[in-house]
Symmetry: C2
Subunit: 211 residues, 2 copies
């Protein structure tokens, strides 16, 4: 049912990829095993012919009267999302969650690597934590530029989240993966993706108790 992704995916299709991924993940989390282009169309407000065309560009073919296998599609999108050129990532806040991420360092992805970190306990001249150059937050602007960082993982305490974000807004970074429960305010040119672990756990518990 699934082929290798073709290297020439139209730009319009690539732009819709993360959205497809998100919606499919939702359906998967709700326990749905298969999905028709029509169902996705209604959920995403994209017409179903476009969806079928996009999916065929990606090498995913639905079965007539069955639709698409949700998990296969998800697996497929994961692979496609993984084909970008290298991206330099910095982590801010080497507390317990931050140091877990430094150790983990997103192994599965060859193109994405944390190359720089900041922590208020680190010296201005830097030190190595789990093999990663780690500096005092005073060095954020200078080091983000020097290391060519485009994306920041934010694992600082809540009380520092907006202050650090404001300083990041003055750099050339383009995205923040926000693990604080704070609803950080950013300029329009910065993408924010928030993962609130308490909410994830609470949503699961809620589903268990009420469904």
């Amino acid at each position: 049912m699934l082929q290798e992704p073709t290297s020439k995916i139209p730009q319009a299709t690539t732009k819709r990829l993360p959205l497809y991924y998100r919606f499919l993940q939702n359906f998967a989390n709700a326990g749905q095993k298969r999905i028709s282009s029509q169902e996705l169309s209604e959920a995403m407000k994209i017409d179903s012919a476009t969806i079928r065309r996009d999916f065929s560009h990606l090498g995913a073919l639905g079965k007539k009267g069955y639709g698409y296998d949700v998990q296969e599609l998800l697996e497929f999108f994961r692979k496609t999302l993984d084909q970008d050129e290298a991206t330099n990532v910095a982590l801010i806040g080497v507390g317990s969650l931050g140091s877990a991420f430094l150790k983990y360092n997103f192994h599965r992805n060859h193109n994405t690597k944390i190359i720089l970190a900041f922590d208020s306990n680190s010296p201005h001249e830097g030190e190595k934590i789990s093999g990663i150059d780690t500096y005092h937050p005073d060095m954020i602007e200078e080091k983000i530029k020097e290391y060519g960082v485009e994306v920041v993982i934010l694992t600082v305490p809540s009380r520092s989240a907006q202050e650090v974000t404001d300083r990041l807004a003055a750099t050339a970074i383009k995205g923040i993966l926000n693990f604080t429960p704070v609803r950080i305010a950013v300029p329009e040119n910065i993408h924010v993706q928030t993962i609130d672990l308490s909410v994830e756990l609470q949503t699961l518990i809620y589903m268990i108790k009420h469904t």
Copy 2:
């Protein structure tokens, strides 16, 4: 615009809460600031009158011609999701991510607490890690019953994920928050919520490069 959630929310409404939450989180991640009941209706395939009634039960009132503020709704759902009775949570796999969760222990939620952990380096008779009783995985069945655990956070290495899941399937647990990249297979009575941190990062990077 938002009142305190009323204590008497109809069962049908409560069942839709996690779904509302998920879809709203999607819209928020896509940068959408406000949303009409009509837009939500099209995305979720729930009729808009039902949505407006549900939201009013929750104390959330839209403004005519403006709709609902996405972030206010999210904040509101977070509070409502947080009102359940206490749930006992166990964590399996005290590696770097697992120990971060033990330290973090989902502070914001008064009703949800990790009360038990398992790690292959822990003794059968148990030890304390970050104040939490931690046992060898051989004790999973016995201790999950003894501690009345309903939900498991899975932070084991990928190679052990399905094996541990199979053993959990034989216990009374009802939900797994899965942090492994493995697509674990479970019986129908167990809910799984997967958070793949690599994919979250990769999705953000993809959005930056292609939008």
